[in-house]
């Protein structure tokens, strides 16, 4: 009891002192007439500490840039791949060498052969009038034009050629390019920019694919030559899409597809385009001078007025037997390209003798429309004779001058297919002197259509040429494909 009392007394004294301290006049300050208790000071200090901690940055490990020595080491260690991959064994690299003009009969490696490998549809190679006009042009202007169109490279034959083509097709104006494949891959990026929508056939050839890639627009592919697939794609893109009204929309098709020989049904495409408000870019390299009553192309063939197709491009290296390309459409379309199409502005213009060859070729076609009837009868005859070839079937359209034969039963791998077809082509050339070729594919090409043998029919072929080809092909394919 005696020990407890002093402890209790001590505790009470301490408590009294603490409470005195808190209740001391110092602890009770008067700030602006307001009484402040001592505990408020402690709380204020705590808040200050919390605020201080929050305001400090979180800990990040410091960033150290690479030192010069480290960069040197990395550069020494780095090993690049070789510039080209090693050549595969057994790859065929020799191409047959021609020793005369590539007409219906030509000389290959010293032998005279029947030529089904040149797209000489109207038989204009070797035509006297065209060669005379070229000679006149060469003597007057020389070979090259030595400048782009903007800098004294525009020669009066170019202007003549442009107006001649425009008048032939019935369009207001046209523009010439100096190379066939550069036409389409310069036209597409000139009109289609980032944010536009393009609907293209999946069987278009490499130049069109390159143009689509360079344009940076959104590209949607539809099944090859399938109008139902096109309609559903267009429906999907425009349904519920309010923004679709403000951006430019294009459909890109070829008239005769190089990769398969099919013909695009232009009347249905125009109906769809008007329904969904798209513009059409039509690539007519293989149908200009071939389809239609007078050779004016796919629009004449289907009876569609030419104003309904917004942009038509074509390479002149096929029916017109010259080089270069053209694009035609309304005045706005053509004028826009003169300043913003890269293949036109940044490249030298077409050599003048090729432009005069084009003018003579179009003149010839206007004066002799019977050459189209020859071509058509040759194609029909070839279809009839090749319809029962063992192992091969014709998959191209009956009017297409590119007759496409593919294997009835594929071996399963594209390389063996190609090997078989190349063997057939080699044997036909060596044993029967008929020159045919298979379709070649680059590894940059994303088209997945099957490969086959491509026969280019010309109006200059005779019936005996065609029977020679068909009998040789039937014989060789029977022997080569008999095991498959």
């Amino acid at each position: 009891m005696d020990m407890a009392l002093p402890v209790v007394n001590a505790t009470a004294a301490v408590l009294a002192r603490v409470s005195a301290a808190f209740n001391a006049p110092l602890a009770r300050a008067v700030v602006f007439g307001v009484h402040i208790d001592g505990h408020l000071v402690v709380e204020g200090l705590l808040i200050a500490v919390i605020v201080f901690q929050l305001s400090r940055k979180s800990y990040k490990p410091p960033k150290k840039p690479l030192t010069e020595k480290e960069i040197d080491e990395l550069c020494d260690e780095w090993e690049p791949e070789p510039l080209c991959p090693p050549i595969k064994e057994g790859a065929r690299i020799d191409t047959p060498m021609l020793e005369s003009a590539a007409g219906p009969h030509t000389i290959v490696d010293g032998k005279e052969v029947v030529n089904f490998a040149s797209a000489n549809y109207l038989g204009l190679i070797g035509n006297e009038k065209i060669i005379d006009s070229c000679i006149g042009s060469l003597e007057k202007y020389g070979v090259g034009s030595c400048g782009p169109r903007g800098f004294y490279g525009t020669i009066d034959v170019h202007l003549d050629c442009e107006s001649k083509i425009a008048k032939f097709l019935g369009t207001p104006d046209s523009i010439l390019y100096s190379y066939g494949i550069s036409t389409i891959f310069s036209v597409i990026p000139a009109f289609c920019k980032k944010g536009d929508i393009i609907v293209a056939d999946e069987g278009v050839h490499w130049a069109v694919q390159n143009g689509l890639h360079l344009s940076r627009s959104t590209v949607v592919y539809f099944k090859h030559n399938d109008m139902a697939s096109l309609a559903s794609t267009l429906e999907k893109l425009t349904r519920g899409n309010k923004r679709a009204e403000k951006i430019r929309r294009y459909i890109v098709v070829e008239s005769i597809y190089q990769n398969s020989g099919q013909i695009a049904p232009l009347d249905e495409i125009v109906k769809l385009k008007e329904k969904y408000r798209f513009r059409v870019i039509l690539e007519e390299s293989h149908s200009f001078g071939v389809l239609g009553k007078s050779g004016r192309g796919l629009a004449e063939h289907y009876g569609v007025p030419i104003e309904k197709i917004d942009i038509i491009t074509a390479g002149m290296g096929n029916a017109l037997a010259t080089d270069g390309g053209f694009c035609t459409g309304s005045v706005r379309v053509v004028d826009h390209q003169r300043l913003s199409s890269s293949g036109y502005v940044f490249s030298a213009s077409l050599p003048p003798y090729l432009a005069s060859a084009a003018v003579s070729a179009v003149n010839y076609l206007e004066e002799n429309p019977s050459v189209l009837a020859n071509l058509r009868s040759n194609i029909a005859l070839l279809h009839k004779e090749l319809s029962d070839t063992p192992g091969l079937e014709i998959t191209s359209h009956v009017l297409s001058p590119i007759v496409f034969l593919k294997l009835k039963k594929s071996t399963g791998s594209p390389t063996t297919d190609l090997d078989l077809l190349e063997t057939i082509a080699d044997k036909v050339l060596k044993e029967d002197s008929v020159f045919i070729v298979t379709s070649k594919k680059s590894n940059l090409d994303r088209c997945k259509l099957p490969i086959g043998i491509r026969l280019f029919v010309s109006a200059g072929h005779t019936e005996s040429d065609i029977s020679r080809l068909s009998s040789s092909l039937k014989r060789v394919s029977a022997s080569v494909l008999s095991d498959y």
């Binding site: 690479l66 480290e70 960069i71 780095w78 690049p80 510039l83 080209c84 050549i87 690299i93 191409t95 060498m97 020793e99 005369s100 003009a101 590539a102 030509t106 490998a117 040149s118 190679i125 060669i131 000679i135 003597e139 007057k140 202007y141 020389g142 070979v143 030595c146 169109r149 800098f151 004294y152 525009t154 020669i155 009066d156 100096s178 190379y179 066939g180 494949i181 550069s182 390159n210 360079l214 929309r249 917004d310 390479g315 290296g317 096929n318 010259t322 080089d323 826009h336 300043l339 913003s340 890269s342 940044f346 490249s347 030298a348 050599p351 003798y353 090729l354 070729v437 070649k440 680059s442």
Partner: protein
Amino acid sequence: MVRLPYTTALTTLFSYGLLFAFGQLRDFFRKFVDWFKAKNVKGYAPICLGLEDFYVRRLYLRIQDCFGRPIASAPDSWFDVVERTSNDNNKTLQCTSNTTRCLNLGSYNYLGFAAADEYCTPRVIESLKKYSASTCSVRVDGGTTKLHAELEELAARFVGKPAAILFGMGYVTNSAIIPCLIGKGGLIISDSLNHNSIVNGARGSGATVRVFQHNSPAHLEEVLREQIAGGQPRTHRPWKKIIVIVEGIYSMEGELCKLPEIIAVCKKYKAYTYLDEAHSIGAVGQSGRGVCELLGVDPADVDIMMGTFTKSFGSCGGYIAASKEIIQHLKQSCPAHLYATSMSPPAVQQVISAIKVILGEDGSNRGAQKLARIRENSNFFRSELKKMGFEVLGDNDSPVMPIMLYNPAKIPAFSRECLRQKVAVVTVAFPATPLLLARARICISASHTREDLMKALDVISRVGDLVGIKYFPAEPPKIAEADAEITS
């Protein structure tokens, strides 16, 4: 190097600002006028938005007659320029049937093969009769003739590489080759002033593209070090391969590329080099073999050499020269070889004959004469222009010389006044050059005689005084100095 005076920069900016303001004002009023007329078919977005072609409509159309002038004869040293008139203030131009005979300072005719030549033209006509104007076929199908094989061999021998491959157009050569050599995961480092075909090829390949300052090997080294150390963007994996693309002569500057230093840098960092000799092959070098010969670089050090036949050989088309393996790989996979119509046989024959003349294999020394003449002409012309006080860009020995104009109003003034005095020049403005740096570009040819050059200098000097482009003080004529010495 362009030394832009301060006052000129201010006045040029002011001029462009004024033109821009006027253009916007006219567009504003045009919007009212168009509101009443429905121009576009309902439901279709316009094929060209208003903002995209503002420059064309409001600035370019005013001076449209300075560009795209048609000619009615061969682009030789003197040619006939067709006169054009306009009824609607330069919006459309119509050709008349009058022509003016002018001195040609604009065509790429460096060695004078542009017009009919006594050795080349008969052979070209012969080959035309034998092979016709076109083969209508791609190279791998039925488009290879003996001429193509001969030219590939000859081009490889001329340039100094083991093998070569031919294409029908120079632009397509670049755009179709670069995607074959490099793809995703690779890096392309190209000079900031490279040609549009190289830019297109680089974009089409899918590789990452970086740019280094024009003609600066130090900056190239910096970029290489940074990129190799950093690796591919985001994943930081090492690059698959690096290709550095430069040109031999830059057509808008007239400068030669600093090839030896750039090759040294590329060798140190194991990058591949691609040299585009569009303007320099045939035009520079002791025997016409291009920048490699001029600057003393061994062709084996450059991995891929590309060139065109349009400028010095008077034909069309392009080539790539490299090792046998690379050329074989290109022959199997390059889309321009597999899908494009082969080069026209008469054009091939023209190049073969032109190369034979340059090498002297035609039995005369016309080739050596032409090469000496173009060198003399370029150096003489450049030094005279500099003495008169013009600002001329470019290095010695380069046949391309740009004269700086700067102000947008001086472009049509210089061009039209020179045409009135029967000299045809080429003027270049935005977008081919930076906005403030408009220029007139002169291309000298081996077929220009001394009288032609004196006339050109006389006309340019007079027009230069009229227009006010002699930005530097002219050197006093030598006779005055000699007189001063005698009298003193």
